[in-house]
Subunit: 265 residues, 2 copies
């Protein structure tokens, strides 16, 4: 989460550096205080059902913006930006299979593509830290542990599948505060979906996450689970759209929204 | 708001009475404690843009449910209900013009129709009353005053237009509490959009609302404005879809959701 020395901190400048090929790594820690977003691009024929899926599952799929068909500019959350070039790394999927990894996707763009920007938990992790709560995977300098659960999302058209969650250990006495702090940010997954026994939501072994890295659960701590944006990508892959473009894991889109802009109001 | 004597109070029973033609009046006060919803039905070709509009304007257009194309059953908010028969009165619109008023719309239903259920302020009015806050139009037994403002909604495809708001006078000292109480219900318009001078949002005369009835603003009171569900109907009419079906004003859909189910979490 450390800001690289002499790297710009304003979101417009960060996106320019990325667009010009001077930043090809994960975006954690860039433009502190600004909301970062998951990207999913789908053909218009799939867009209504995906938006429906997101609307029915706002915890894992909090929608920050949906572009007009064919437009690569997120006019509401980052006017002037270009979603084809302003992320450091993209994944291109055909019928649910990863076809390519690419630093930009201009040549693939079509008039019928619709881009979805979904909230990402970086925002509420800043809020947890500011409230004196631990974020273990940052302490241990690894990726957040993610688990496929037994919680089925509400289907929307062809989009269906289980919810993926992240886990952050909290000292027993601080669990209520962790609920309250994250509940202020419904646009970035909001309050936890489960607290305590992992088996209740179908997780058999915390030390073996389905994605990301395991973290230490210390004595006196409760595992706390939040809905995760990876859900939407997993569900969209399973629907096997002819074309889908996403951010590569950790290589998010940096918006102009301040974290406080997505707090409940 | 009075519950008629011997009329059922469970939402399933209320819908059955309505379906069987035994209740043709406004639904205010029916099934106390349960969420009522605005209905807008559009052909599938218009549905994505309308959902986009709602997503971009969550204050006036809080989406409770969107049905699958062709389905008249709101499986998530009232399983088993039928949106073609379970509201007491419908309006049918062709190209933005009111064509008919009808107690049911079964004959008009098509395989490509999508129904949107949007939150309605009855829910937060119960919360205001429970918190000891006045709801003047209930005291004066009239309709809530509604005003067309100078606040432009964020467009979505062909859907665009000004936000419509409701106004409730609050004693100066109780205004903060009115903000906090309604903020708990983002799915039913949430916190106010404006507090104080009506001219700031383009309202020239509180005594002449654009819809509904004027209410008394007493000495020592501040006018408080909330986004209103009428916005979506006004905006949808202006887009002139070939067919649109809505509830008739005040004749809402009674869901199985309890008010507390739509509180922030």
């Amino acid at each position: 989460m450390e800001q690289p020395t002499a790297f710009p901190t304003a979101p417009q400048d960060v996106r320019r550096e990325i667009r010009q090929g001077r930043w090809a790594r994960p975006t954690a820690g860039l433009a502190p205080g600004y909301v970062q977003a998951n990207l999913i691009v789908l053909p218009r024929l799939w867009a209504h059902d995906f938006l429906l899926f997101a609307q029915r599952n706002p915890k894992p799929c909090p929608v920050l913006e949906v572009t007009d068909p064919g437009s690569a500019e997120p006019r509401l959350t980052a006017p002037g930006a270009d979603l084809r070039t302003d992320l450091p790394k993209y994944h291109v999927w055909r019928c649910g299979e990863l076809e390519a990894e690419s630093p930009e996707v201009t040549a693939l763009w079509r008039d019928d593509l619709v881009a979805f920007l979904l909230g990402c938990s970086f925002t509420f992790e800043s809020a947890l830290l500011a409230a004196g709560l631990p974020v273990r995977h940052l302490e241990e300098d690894c990726n957040v542990p993610m688990y496929i659960t037994s919680i089925e999302c509400v289907p929307g058209g062809p989009f269906r599948g289980p919810m993926v969650v992240t886990m952050r250990p909290m000292p027993h006495a601080l669990v209520p505060r962790a609920v309250l702090v994250t509940a202020r940010y419904p646009a970035v997954h909001g309050a936890p979906v489960h607290i305590g026994d992992p088996a209740v939501i179908g997780i058999s072994d915390l030390s073996r996450p389905d994605f990301g890295d395991p973290v230490t659960l210390r004595a006196g701590e409760t595992p706390v689970f939040w809905a995760c944006g990876v859900t939407s990508q997993a569900v969209a892959r399973r629907a096997r759209p002819e074309l889908m473009i996403t951010h590569a894991p950790g290589h998010m889109f940096v918006t102009d929204l301040r974290d406080e802009h997505v707090a409940a109001s």
